[in-house]
């Protein structure tokens, strides 16, 4: 007797969220099957890759491949423009690392000026990542969301401590998209979405960052979180977890010793650039099969590889 596989398409689906405007805008989410289960039902919107650009430019960059890619760029704006040509790139993620009050403490005005300059120069959707300082991030997100009205950007992220501020400004007043960030805590991931929804932010304006880590650095916690979130969203029709998932990969993978330790110190590990690429590829591919709808990455070779990975599984 012929074997007939049972299709496992769910009646629930992940919210489809649009980022950016015009021809280059992208839609993430919308699927009603587990990640890449195209044999159960078609997946209309493939997972996407955003390229991370630091507001510090190439300062501190240890990768020759990344430096070579941006050779000739005189500014962060130049880099953002160049990043659009990266094979597999669909969005630009501007990371305000230097805004940290415990570091360079770049002013909110300077952040806004840079964001505007980048937004004027690129056509791809823009993601804005903060410096992890709760108060400063809220200020940056407010000001940048205001300045970039109409660009449909995604701010990363609203957290438990500042969701009211970020949700009310970015999500409500300026009509941008809001990333809700929790750290491998499924209950908090859900709670943040409930709180944003109670604040009045439409579900279709919310993405989730449910945690990030580099492969080998507690990644199994992230992996089980992704699995549980997708299972609740699809199998249990949990509306409060049907937001698409955005995972910052590169800020994690380029901060671990495998990607940073110089070759003279760790000769047995091989070429530095290759290690960084492999860390990004391993981590991003694992996030994607766990259910991330968008991953944030840096290295052009890693972005190209993951892009091929996505296309070949779709």
């Amino acid at each position: 007797m012929a074997f007939t596989p049972k299709k496992q398409a769910f009646s629930a689906k992940i919210n489809a969220v649009t980022l950016g405007t015009g021809d280059k805008s992208i839609v993430i989410g919308g699927e009603n099957v587990l990640p890449f289960y195209t044999f159960d039902a078609p997946i209309a919107n493939k997972p996407r890759i955003a390229v991370e650009i630091s507001d510090k430019g190439l300062e501190g960059c240890v990768s020759d491949g990344i430096k070579a890619f941006y050779a000739g760029c005189d500014s962060v704006v130049d880099m953002a423009v160049k990043a659009q040509s990266m094979e597999g790139a669909s969005a630009i993620c501007l990371h305000f690392e230097s805004a940290d009050p415990n570091g360079e403490n770049k002013s909110v005005e300077d952040c806004v000026a840079l964001a505007k300059a980048v937004a004027d120069a690129v056509e791809m959707p823009i993601l804005v990542m903060g410096c992890k300082n709760i108060e400063k991030d809220a200020q940056i997100f407010n000001a940048v969301s205001d300045a970039l009205q109409g660009k449909n950007i995604l701010v990363l992220s609203a957290r438990e401590e500042n969701y009211k501020n970020v949700g009310a400004s970015a999500g409500l007043a300026y009509n941008q998209k809001v990333g809700a960030e929790s750290a491998v805590d499924i209950n908090l991931a859900k709670q943040l979405n409930v709180l944003l929804s109670q604040l009045g932010v439409p579900d279709a304006s919310v993405c989730m960052n449910v945690g990030s880590s580099a492969a080998g650095y507690g990644f199994e916690y992230l992996s089980s979180t992704l699995d549980r979130v997708k299972a609740a969203a699809l199998a249990q029709s949990d509306k409060q977890l049907q937001m698409p998932i955005v995972t910052p990969v590169s800020p994690e993978t380029w901060g671990v010793k495998e990607s940073m330790s110089p070759e003279e110190e760790s000769p047995e590990w091989g070429p530095l650039d290759e290690r960084g690429i492999e860390m990004e590829v391993c981590t991003a591919s694992a996030c994607l099969v766990g259910g991330s709808n968008l991953v944030i990455m840096r290295h052009p070779a890693a972005v190209a590889t993951i892009s091929k990975f996505i296309d070949s599984l779709m």
Binding site: N187, V194, Q198, Q240
Partner: protein, 261 residues
Amino acid sequence: MAKFITIGERISVTAPAIRRAFEERDPEPILTRCEQQLKAGANYIDVNIGPAESDGEERMQWAVKLLQERFDNVPLALDTSNMKAIEAGIQVYNREKGKPIVNSADAGDRFNRIELAANNDAIVIALCSANGIASDNDERMAHCQRMLEEGLMHGMEAEDLWFDPLFLVVKGMQDKQMEVLEAIKMFTDMGLNSTGGLSNNSNGMPKHIRPIFDSCMLAMAMMQGLTSAIVNPNDQRLMETIKTCDIIKNNNLYADSYLEI
């Protein structure tokens, strides 16, 4: 596991205001009660039009259209002994939010409601009694088996038969309560869905006692695997109990605001 399903019971001709509303085709009292129940979190709404022997078909169609048009195709349980009225209701029923429920069949005079449900791709509540309350669980499960086979024979999926053990009144049948709960466990062990008119158990009790009994009985029944119940969703204690049991059973992921959603 899927979340517990609540069927709101408050649109019923046993309430004088609703009886009058059906007779006079006055939408307001019916719409008001439906809205109150949906706001409180009811999944399905029961529409009990009574036997309505003279105008059942027209009355059910009026009610189905009235409620579904106003409340985004809310899924309904069509509750009447009048078979023609149920069929007429299904004819105008929109399935976008869920199949209609035929309320109800039993193993006695209403046995043919199972075929009716099968012919109309509906869910059916299958009351495990014939003519009178089952004397023990052997009898209950014999009724269950017979109705299950009838449904399968007519092409139904087993999941569309929701077996009702018949909740019994505590005041008078206190010694039968555990038996009812054990029957639910037997349905669960067979992989079957289950439901029932929960508030039977607290019939005749003072008003302030009933929510306590309903909540406790419901929690014990959910422990046994009950998958749905016909309830008063505007009983806050009861709804909080259901939401909490759904968390404990891992039917729903916990969040601090779980009672508000």
